[in-house]
Symmetry: C2
Subunit: 228 residues, 2 copies
DNA sequence: GTATAAGCGGAACGACCGCCCCGGTTATAC
DNA sequence: GTATAACCGGGGCGGTCGTTCCGCTTATAC
């Protein structure tokens, strides 16, 4: 059962390595990438040197954790690829990824590309993830459920946005509402019903004019509240 | 014209203060809150001590900049309050805030509550901002354009999400698409047209079952790729 | 012109964090 | 049991960043 791919590890070393990996997963999940290595070492009951012997850099430790998580996510997606309702499958997976990111900040950070670029961190896993997510997406699009103008990268970005929003407000009700907004936004537009449609387009131009005047111009108005 | 609310400042001191404030605005806009004080001092051509004499902490410097920006945003919103098309006014403002956040990372960080809590940073400005944004929102909701189940805090959070997404992908085309997804998600749902509707709800349950199995469970599978 | 105090700049301090090193310990082969 | 090499832990290094301190400079009042 236990594999020893490289030259065998001493028993205590193997134990420590597994322990560090497990603790690291939990710590990253709770605090994200920003958790110090020293804390992981402390929680694992080992010295920092031990962590660094098994994982030469923080990046490699993070990589090991993230890779395992991605593999897990990919497996889950594959379970849904055979589903009979492509739209429901896509949205079920999307929602699952959102809640997953709420539980695992390390994963959310990885998807967001905080600190390390995921494509370099775990190239294979990231590619397979995007591939399988892309298949779920195209099926939903082919079924006419998801708007056709977005691609996998867009979905990934929307996912990152959902994670940020959930961190910004930990209220679960709000999280559900906000995810619902994005899910609805992803759906194919129904034909306009007139009264609900976007409103007077000419006003949109006028609004832009109103706002355009100096919006985002340089400098802080020094006669304002900034100069006490 | 130039006010001197407190005891008068020496001419060079006033000049330096204004210079620091202006440079700080630009630096925060470009790099967000994470820009070091030393760099602001360097760019302003003064020593770090000079920055700290005028603004005792980084927080207070940031506060001065953010407060001015909020005041500016509030003024812009008030211009739109009298608009005849509440829906267009709301969406015009929302879009303006999104592009504003892309230009000004310091502002985006403030809205996201990164580093400092905005409500403590600039309580008055933040309250007035939420108030005026809330009025634009309710009007659009009363007009039946924006879905009624969301509140101001939701809109603020969605804004933060848009900013994150725009940072995650700097492609302007993608940014437009992603903002469009959220704007569409904010619109009142049209009556369902049957074929496009959410799909078999019973499958949604089954999908949850498929995914629920261990999704988000504790621990990393140590027989996986984590144990080379 | 001179006295004086406000203002200036940058060296320095402390805290944090990723990473390295080395003297001591311990599993393992014989 | 013993030799030995792998392994362990934690102190320390180097870098970053917010903040403070102090000797020198200079605007300003008289």
């Amino acid at each position: 059962m236990p594999e020893k791919p490289a030259r065998s590890l001493r028993a205590d070393a193997a134990r420590n390595r597994a322990r560090v990996l497990d603790v690291a997963y939990r710590a990253f999940a709770e605090q994200g990438l920003s958790v110090p290595i020293d804390e992981i070492a402390r929680r694992a009951g080992v010295g920092a040197g031990t962590v660094y012997r098994h994982f030469p850099t923080k990046r490699e430790l993070y990589q090991a954790v993230v890779e395992a998580r991605f593999t897990w996510l990919i497996e889950r997606a594959e379970l849904l690829l055979g589903a009979e309702d492509p739209g429901a499958a896509f949205f079920a997976y999307f929602s699952a990824l959102v809640t997953e990111g709420a539980t695992d900040k390390g994963l959310a950070d990885a998807l967001a590309g905080l600190g390390f670029d995921v494509e370099q961190l775990a190239p294979g896993a990231e590619r397979r993830f995007k591939e399988v997510l892309g298949r779920l997406l195209s099926r939903a699009q082919d079924a006419g459920v998801v708007r056709p103008d977005i691609d996998v990268a867009d979905v990934k970005t929307l996912l990152v946005g959902c994670h940020t929003m959930n961190r910004h407000r930990d209220d679960p009700d709000a999280a559900r509402r906000l995810t619902a907004v994005i899910r609805d936004g992803l759906r194919t537009r129904r034909p306009a019903l007139g009264i609900f449609d976007s409103g007077d387009p000419s006003f949109a131009e006028r609004a832009d004019e109103i706002l355009a005047d100096g919006f985002g111009a340089d400098g802080v108005d020094s006669s304002g509240p900034v100069s006490p």
